[in-house]
Every structure is written in structure tokens, then in C-alpha cells.
């Protein structure tokens, strides 16, 4: 049983780091603000959920006690990180940062008043 819990905590920590690594590779490689935000929103949320679950299980198991703060941080991050990245994406679109050249559809376009001189590739 102890070995099982240890393997569970190790896998949670490892997968949290792997999710964060996915976000980092996405922010290094993707061509656009919105694509980077798409990678980061998922990656950081899932990574911090895995880390906080690992910390909660470890502190319950090792005799420190039930750590409510980690569950609180888990809930808060999983609520606030999508809201924050959505707000940044909306603000970037209203600021006028162009989409990637090969992106297929733009659903926000009829709602906003834009004059696009050229499709600059950011």
C-alpha cells in the first residue's frame, strides 16, 4: 500500500512537470499570441492541479495532516487561470494583434470594428 501511494505521488509530480513542459514547448514554438495562450491555459492548469493533488496526498500520508491550503489553491487556480487567459486573449484581439496567417476562421471579426492594413505576421 505504501509503495502504491508513493508511485501515485511520483506519477502525479511527474505528470504535472510534463504538463508544464508542454506549456513551455508551446510558448516557445507556436507562431501566434492566441496559439501560445491556448497551449499555456491547458498546460499550466493541468500541471498545477497535478502538483497540488500530489502535495495533498503526500501531506495526508506522511503524517503532517490534511492540508486544506493546497486544495484551496487547486480550486482557485482551476477557476482563475481560464478566466485570466480568456481576458488576455480578448484584450489582445481588441488591441489589434493580428491572427496567424494560416489560421482558418475568425469568429470575433463581425463583432469588432477593425481596419486591417496588412496581415503582419507576429
Amino acid at each position: 500500500m505504501a509503495l502504491f501511494i508513493e508511485i501515485l505521488i511520483s506519477l502525479l509530480v511527474f505528470f504535472g512537470a510534463i504538463f508544464l513542459l508542454g506549456g513551455a514547448v508551446g510558448i516557445l514554438r507556436f507562431p501566434d499570441v492566441y496559439c501560445r495562450m491556448h497551449a499555456l491555459g491547458k498546460g499550466t492548469t493541468m500541471g498545477i492541479i497535478c502538483f497540488m493533488l500530489a502535495a495533498f496526498i503526500y501531506f495526508c500520508w506522511s503524517g503532517v495532516g490534511v492540508c486544506i491550503m493546497s486544495l484551496l489553491a487547486l480550486v482557485f487556480i482551476s477557476v482563475s487561470a481560464p478566466i485570466g487567459s480568456h481576458m488576455i486573449a480578448k484584450a489582445a484581439y481588441h488591441y489589434g494583434i493580428p491572427l496567424w496567417q494560416n489560421s482558418l476562421r475568425d469568429d470575433l471579426k463581425p463583432d469588432c470594428e477593425f481596419i486591417s492594413e496588412d496581415k503582419a505576421d507576429f
Binding site: 509530480v13 504535472g16 508544464l20 513551455a24 503524517g63 489553491a73 488576455i88 480578448k90 470594428e113 507576429f122
Partner: protein
Amino acid sequence: MSLLQTLFGEATVNPFLQNLRILPVFLDIAMVICSFNLLSFLYRVIKGPAMADRAIAMDSCGVTVMSLIVIYSIRQGTSLYMSCAMVIAVLGFIGMVGLSKYIQGGNIVASGNIVLNREEAEDLQNLQDPKVTEELQKKAAEARQKAAANYIPTARHQRKNRKRHHKK
């Protein structure tokens, strides 16, 4: 011999963690991966072309520091550091909201697209620049009509009008 133990000596030894075999190895691996993530986020903060890139990269830096705090507190065996992680989460969210409002306040990107409010549409119509094509001016007129339909006078606009009327 784990990584922190070699760095800081005996100060970070957790007696519960010393009996385990698998967990310290994975904690080291996760710490190395998280430091690589921090480096890549810092690269995007420095190089990122738009300000939104820098904003989301700094927020992800905060999340990565939170995960490093979690690793460190597991290694130390205390749950006291979790409040630090909670504070970093709250501050990161507030910073994201403030930065998004700040980004939305800007009006013109120098080389790209233009977001118009009413005064800038007027200014653009009065502009005698051969670079501004006729199509652009037509679009500016449309935007001006659309903005005049639902126009709410702001404080800045009122100040500008007062200056314009009371100058002479």
C-alpha cells in the same frame, strides 16, 4: 544523494522522505523540468513581440514558481509553504486582470491593425496622407458612423471639446 541535499547540506533532510526510494528521484526530475520551463518563459518574456505574450509568460512563471514551492515543501516535509503558493496564485490572477485592462486601453498598433474610437476616426478622416488609401478612409467613415450611433461622451473628449471651444 538528491539535488537539494548536495546544494544545501543537511538542512533540507526530511526523515520521512529518507525511507522512500522512488519519490526523491521524481522530485529531482520535476525540479529540473520546472527550471527549464522557467527559462523558456523568461525567453518569451524578453523576446515576445506583443505585450500579451509577456503577460501570459509572466503568469506562467508564477504558476511554475508555485509548482517549485510545492516540490520544496514536499521535500521539507512541512505544509507551511502552501500559503505562499496560494498568495502567488491570487496575485497572479489580479495581475492578469489588471494587465488585460491595460492592454485594452491602447488604441493603435504602430504597424498593424487600427482600433478606432470617434476622435481618432475624425483625425484619420482629416489626414492628408497619400499612404492612407481611399478604402481605408471609407472604412474609417463607416466606423465613425457606427461609433456616433452609440456615442457616450468620455471625460477626455469633453476636456478636448472645451479646449477647442474656449481657445479664442
